[in-house]
Assembly symmetry: C2
Homo-oligomer: 295 residues x 2
Amino acid sequence: MSKINRVLIVGGTHGNELIGVYIIQKFERYPELVHRSSFETVTLLGNPRAVAANTRYIDRDLNRCFAFSADDPRAQTEYELQRANEIQQEFGQGEHRPVDLIIDLHGTTSNVGAMLILDNLESFTLQLASHLSATQPNLKIYSSANSGRNQDSLRSITPYRMGIEVGPVAHGTLHADLFQSTEQLVQNILNYVDHYNNQGLPPIQPSTLSAYQYVGSIDYPRDEQNNLLAMIHPRLQFNDFAALIPGDSIFLSFDGQTIFYQGDAVVYPVFINEAAYYEKGVAMVLTQQKVYDLE
Amino acid sequence: MSKINRVLIVGGTHGNELIGVYIIQKFERYPELVHRSSFETVTLLGNPRAVAANTRYIDRDLNRCFAFSADDPRAQTEYELQRANEIQQEFGQGEHRPVDLIIDLHGTTSNVGAMLILDNLESFTLQLASHLSATQPNLKIYSSANSGRNQDSLRSITPYRMGIEVGPVAHGTLHADLFQSTEQLVQNILNYVDHYNNQGLPPIQPSTLSAYQYVGSIDYPRDEQNNLLAMIHPRLQFNDFAALIPGDSIFLSFDGQTIFYQGDAVVYPVFINEAAYYEKGVAMVLTQQKVYDLE
């Protein structure tokens, strides 16, 4: 691949994920922090109206708005569809200020620690992730590349992209340790890109990447009116990335009955009890561990 | 005092505090769980529109709406003021179905564990709290009696009342352990009231109560536009009820500077980093330990 010329760092794609919002404000106050000689860095508050309202979104999750047709009548009335169009026109490929790499900052109520989300498995992204993983052993790598999800996220407008997800942090709050983890990870990514632009691959560049690969999701037990019937089981709460074995406790009903995992394979759940996923029908995302060969 | 004739259990006073919401739904499905022979138990979803929208409130915090005049023009337009009026007319003193005791269920993003909130220090309430404290050693007792707050909360409509506050739990999520703690605490209160009605004070009735008494609150450092300049310091995060000593770390600025506690006395902070208090200008509530003599 050729050089990375422009990097976009986005916070507040979800308006109540405050760590990203305040990191963007910090970078806008001190642009030298994200300045690198070999590329331009741009910052963006993704959903300013949702930030002002301290809510995830106004009309629709902005991070699901980038595959709508401009002809869709909802594009005239819904704020996030208009905002998605603005962002596409500003930073999309073939537009006047295209970016090559997007780093999108998120927070979650689940216990993912510091996690890098890969949307695809092209080789620059895998190299970057494997370098970060080798230099930050606590960093988790999650690939949603095979999730079948539409290319409708904010970062889908550019070829190179990744999400940073930190947790547990309640939406509408800050968390100093996770703020610093996020900021450090952004710095490490910018440093990697700068080194790559100037000198190619860095000295520490493993030839494999160990990651958690999306294999599905599980919803909460619900009744016919879609009301919840159970909660995440106490043994699973905050236990993201731990092996979930067929027969393990997974939910606890409001009546106190344990519900067991019925799958036929060991999986590694992430996004366990993420607040924003209740409405999406996702109690947790299931992954399997996979080692990707980079050569 | 005379017998308690009617107890009201309220959940969803704040619509995104889901533990209370689902406990009320459970009690409404299985009313025998809260039935006692010596009094009537009534349940209420405090703010059903906010519950449906999965938000704290629609127009205004319902738990600050019970001191408005019916003549206030806002009472015609704001949902929570109308709802407060309905609740007052249904359950208030001198109305057709007055309740003697309100138990109001809440959740917080701060690490209070299971906490009983006392609004006043009249003797039945102190006796009940000291009994619960003796039989549940992990239970924390917090008194806001001297906070100077207006009598504007939902439970201010009745003479005997208490809040149950559990955390940390992100708003918009459930947490099975804290669900069970809340439910157990409700059961213990109902059992106490039933015993009191039938036989007077129970066998375990200490003559003192150790509690955390409100002494003030501290806001986040902010700029002139009211924007945050700092976060709760990592050493203080989730450290509710631990001694905060003058000179201890209290905030961490976005620039990485530690800000120290400037008070001149040891205090015990609670509600540290509660999401809903950012907009109220409260980073934490300060308390001091106090032993109340019940005799």
